[in-house]
């Protein structure tokens, strides 16, 4: 038991950046094809990362690197907790801590572009946070535990059967978390924009490389939550869950390429409305069937 935990955590730490980087590469390739372009090599994200590592070491102040380092560290810890099968709320709170470090790093530069990016990132956090907490609450109510190792217990069956609304709501806010259009407000993977590079404007060279790696870790962990909805402890369940993860990611790419960026008001309105409707109604049904019937 303990051995499997250690193995899965080590596997996460080693494999997540590789898989995450590849996913990012595939993402760029698919996006290019959707736009009728050839697109870069699938390994392009790795080239980018290694190049950033080779660049001159510059920073705007002595504190920023520390915050970015903490961001990466706590993102890895978040995923580590997740793949160790610990408490889902603990995982969510650690993720929040990590995200706050990223925002703080941008704020610390006192640069207007970085600060506006940071404020928007914060706004996005406020937009998705309720849905994330509702997701955790929903999984708990269905499976009776916050522990990830218990959630995928075969006895519980597929969580998605009871949580279709919450699943859809979570996929909706994943658009924000994956930094996809129409909600890539704080920083965008695409070219010119009014914020220069938003949150990451003042991160150069190695610092930027750390951010890229952190995002790969983060994306894998987020897909891990999608995995939880489907997995039921059996092999075919795991296969189905991986397929659903990939399909979800593809849908996010499709959304990314079919929408222009929207205003921040729409980001917060829509995600809160989704949380209130899909999340709330689904919760209501669960409560009703659990406590009233």
């Amino acid at each position: 038991m303990n051995m499997t935990i250690i193995i899965s955590v080590i596997a996460y730490i080693i494999l997540a950046p590789i898989v995450g980087g590849l996913l990012a590469g595939i993402d760029r390739k698919i996006s290019a094809r959707m736009q009728g372009r050839v697109g870069p090599s699938i390994l392009q994200p790795f080239y980018d990362m290694f190049k950033l590592m080779e660049k001159e070491a510059i920073t705007v102040n002595k504190a920023q690197d520390f915050y970015v380092g903490c961001f990466l560290f706590f993102i890895i810890v978040t995923g580590g907790f997740f793949f160790a099968g610990l408490d889902l709320l603990l995982v969510i709170f650690t993720l929040t801590l990590a995200s706050v470090f990223l925002i703080v790093a941008a704020f610390s530069s006192n640069s207007p572009y970085a600060q506006i990016g940071a404020e928007r990132e914060l706004l996005q956090m406020m937009a998705y946070e309720p849905m994330v907490l509702i997701t955790a609450a929903g999984l708990y109510l269905v499976t009776g535990s916050f522990n990830i190792s218990d959630i995928i217990n075969p006895e519980n069956g597929m969580a998605i059967k009871f949580l279709p609304g919450i699943f859809l709501g979570f996929v909706f806010i994943l658009t924000i978390k994956f930094r996809k259009s129409p909600f890539d407000l704080s920083m965008s993977h695409h070219g010119h924009q009014e914020l220069v590079k938003g949150l990451t404007t003042e991160f150069a060279g190695k610092t930027m490389a750390l951010i890229e790696i952190a995002h790969w870790y983060e994306n894998i962990f987020l897909l891990g939550i999608v995995f939880l909805f489907i997995a039921n402890g059996t092999v075919w369940g795991a296969v189905a869950a991986v397929v659903v993860c990939l399909v979800t990611y593809f849908i996010e790419i499709l959304i990314d390429n079919s929408y222009a960026r929207m205003k921040w008001q729409i980001a917060i309105n829509s995600s809160w409305i989704v949380a209130i409707t899909l999340g709330f109604i689904n919760m209501l049904v669960i409560y009703f069937s659990k406590f009233v019937l």
Partner: protein, 639 residues
């Protein structure tokens, strides 16, 4: 026993001494000595009863009862007089209803009821005494330096510091009495003293605004007091007891009249804890000097309200109407106050709304009334007291040194006052980030809500937490912003203030580190006593011991990381990007017509979404409907 007497009476002695000896030097000595003694006494009390855990004391004395009644009458006369003098007749009317009723009751009924135990100590009151004794008294030390500066800044006002410190110490004594009284009449006596003390502290500056706000606080708390008196009358006449522990016992056996008493006492608690619709008194209290806000909002006053509700928690819960009222009021207050805090740029107002919100969370925990919820509630009380007092005092110091309490003016505080900014960063982080205190308890609260709170409370906490995250992080962002080329003015901070701030900061971190220990030795034993129907072996806390250990380890990592790595970089420091027009100092850029334009960055306040007024109106209407609804149903049951 003698420690208890000391804790109640010694602050009173200090208070009188402070009123009589009016020189700065004498005041400094008295405050420092008294604060130390009170803190030591509270720790000694904890040590004394650590093993025993719980003890009740007879301490029956007719003269004490008589003395209390006389003081109550005098206070009522004073309120009536002040109400008429300042044309706030409602205060007079409430006082004129309250005290005669109380006296009528005393003479008619109360007199015949034998009270076995007037005082008691249990682990919850030990926790409260520690909070009052340590946090409360350290705030008075801070007030020494602060009030000196304050008088310096407000030369036009008469120096009423002796009175100020008199009230502060009186307050501490009354609070100790409040958390140690088992006799509900005594509890009520101390309750009214805290109401009156807060009235004087809020009205300290005697400006028109201060007077209005102090009367608002007085009226709202007197309203709660009326509820309290009715509760005592019902309790005495239909239950035949005046003892708190008896009341709770009867409640557990399902004596019907207890519901009414619990609802009325909970209502009194709601007014004191500044829950909606009564939150406006706490916001109005911001006109007072900062130590007052710190004292009222972190360790005393409002904590009296939540203390009573947590104490009554075993009687609340879904099975009782009072419980539903309390949890809904708490939940609505939490979400609405959290939203309102987003729209504020005045640091003290942000803190005030955050206080109201956190109290809402505690009240909701009390309302749910399961042991898991109460566990979260008590942890919230502890962490909130320390962290909030730290933040209030930080804002006070910032205000005196940069001349503003607006968050927008705290630009570059990290460069200008690095120490103060660090204290604030610790304080702010401790309010909402894992693995620090408030988050731990919020986590527990969330779990309790999901288990027993129903779907609505889950939604409240989900959305409220998101807003909490937003307003704290944007403030945190201001704090960490590094502006080169700003003058360092840290040395201007008063030595006493600096000592208090650093102590509180260290305390914040230490309590976060040892909270599993506090839980194990203090809170869980209390819960086992308070919830006798729950088998201790099956008492599953919201946070498993694994999670608690992980939290402590994470905190340890978070302490070590900055020590090892913060600021250690040998990278080349370059200017920030200002579209190629940075003039080199990172603070100005070359604008049109070669003009130098300063970089000015402002936070988001989202007035359209979270406007203070809108949130208050919604919250007040919702809570008024709930409270009147519950009381209407209860009244319908009587008639």
């Amino acid at each position: 026993m003698s420690t208890i007497t000391f804790l109640i009476l010694f602050p009173l002695l200090s208070a009188i001494a402070l009123l009589v000896l009016r020189t700065d030097a004498a005041r400094g000595v008295i405050v420092k000595v008294s604060a130390t003694l009170i803190a030591v006494a509270s720790i000694y009390l904890a040590y004394q009863y650590f093993g025993i855990g719980e003890e009740y004391f007879d301490f029956a004395n007719e003269t004490v009862n008589l003395g209390m009644t006389v003081i109550e009458v005098l206070l009522a006369i004073m309120i009536i007089y002040l109400g008429i003098k300042y044309k706030k007749y409602l205060a007079s009317v409430l006082a004129a209803i309250q005290t005669p009723t109380m006296i009528w009751f005393e003479v008619k009924v109360g007199h015949h009821i034998h009270v076995t135990n007037n005082l008691y100590v249990d682990r919850l009151s030990i926790i409260m005494v520690l909070i009052i004794g340590i946090i409360g008294s350290i705030i008075t030390v801070y007030a020494l330096g602060y009030m000196k500066d304050f008088q310096h800044h407000h030369k036009d006002q008469p120096d009423r510091r002796p009175f100020f410190f008199f009230i502060m110490y009186l307050f501490l004594g009354a609070m100790c009495g409040l958390v140690l009284s088992n006799n509900i009449v005594w509890l009520y006596f101390f309750w009214e003293i805290t109401t009156l003390c807060s009235f004087f502290l809020i009205g300290y500056t005697k400006t028109e605004e201060a007077i209005n706000n102090s009367f608002r606080a007085l009226i709202m708390n007197l309203l709660g007091g009326v509820g309290f008196v009715i509760a005592i009358v019902i309790m005495g006449s239909s239950l035949g007891t005046l003892e708190l522990n008896q009341l709770i016992m009867m409640g557990m056996f399902g004596v019907p009249a207890v519901t009414y008493v619990a609802a009325l006492l909970a209502f009194a608690g709601i007014t004191k804890a500044a829950q909606m619709p009564f939150n406006s008194w706490l916001l109005g209290a911001m006109v007072a000097p900062t130590p007052t806000s710190a004292l009222l909002h972190s360790s005393t006053m409002v904590k009296a309200g939540v203390f009573l509700i947590i104490k009554l928690a075993p009687l609340l819960g879904w099975q009782s109407l009072a419980g539903i009222m309390v949890m809904m009021v708490g939940g609505i207050t939490f979400i609405m106050a959290s939203f309102a805090a987003v729209s504020q740029s005045n640091a003290k107002k942000v803190l005030a709304y955050s206080t109201v919100a956190n109290l809402g969370l505690i009240v909701a925990c009390g309302g749910i009334g399961t042991y898991a919820a109460v566990w979260a509630g008590i942890l919230l009380i502890i962490f909130h007291a320390i962290t909030k007092s730290l933040l209030f005092l930080c804002v006070g110091t910032a205000e005196h040194n940069i001349g503003s309490r607006d968050i927008e003016d705290m630009d570059g505080l990290f460069t200008r006052m690095p120490k103060l900014a660090t204290y604030m960063i610790v304080g702010i982080s401790a309010m909402f980030l894992a693995p620090l205190g408030m988050l731990v308890s919020k986590w527990a609260a969330m779990k309790a809500f999901i288990d027993n709170g129903g779907v609505l409370l889950v939604m409240f906490i989900a959305f409220g937490s998101a807003a909490t995250l937003f307003y704290w992080t944007k403030w945190l962002g201001k704090m960490v912003a590094i502006m080169a080329n700003r003058e360092n003015i840290q040395s201007g901070v008063n030595k006493d203030e600096n000592f208090v701030l650093s102590t509180l900061t260290i305390l914040t971190v230490i309590v976060c580190l040892i909270f599993p220990l506090i839980s194990k030795t203090m809170i869980v034993p209390y819960l086992i006593k308070a919830f006798p129907y729950v088998d201790p072996k099956h008492m599953i806390l919201a946070l498993s011991s694994t999670n608690m250990t992980i939290m402590v380890i994470m905190l340890f990592v978070l302490i070590v990381l900055p020590i090892l790595f913060f600021g250690r970089t040998n990278k080349k420091i370059v200017p920030i990007y200002l579209a190629g027009a940075n003039l080199g100092d990172d603070l100005t850029f070359r604008g049109a017509m070669e003009k130098e334009v300063p970089v000015s960055l402002k936070n988001w306040y989202m007035e359209g979404y979270f406007g203070e007024k809108k949130m208050n109106v919604i919250g007040v209407i919702a809570t008024v409907v709930i409270i009147t609804g519950v009381f209407a149903i209860l009244l319908g049951g009587v008639l």
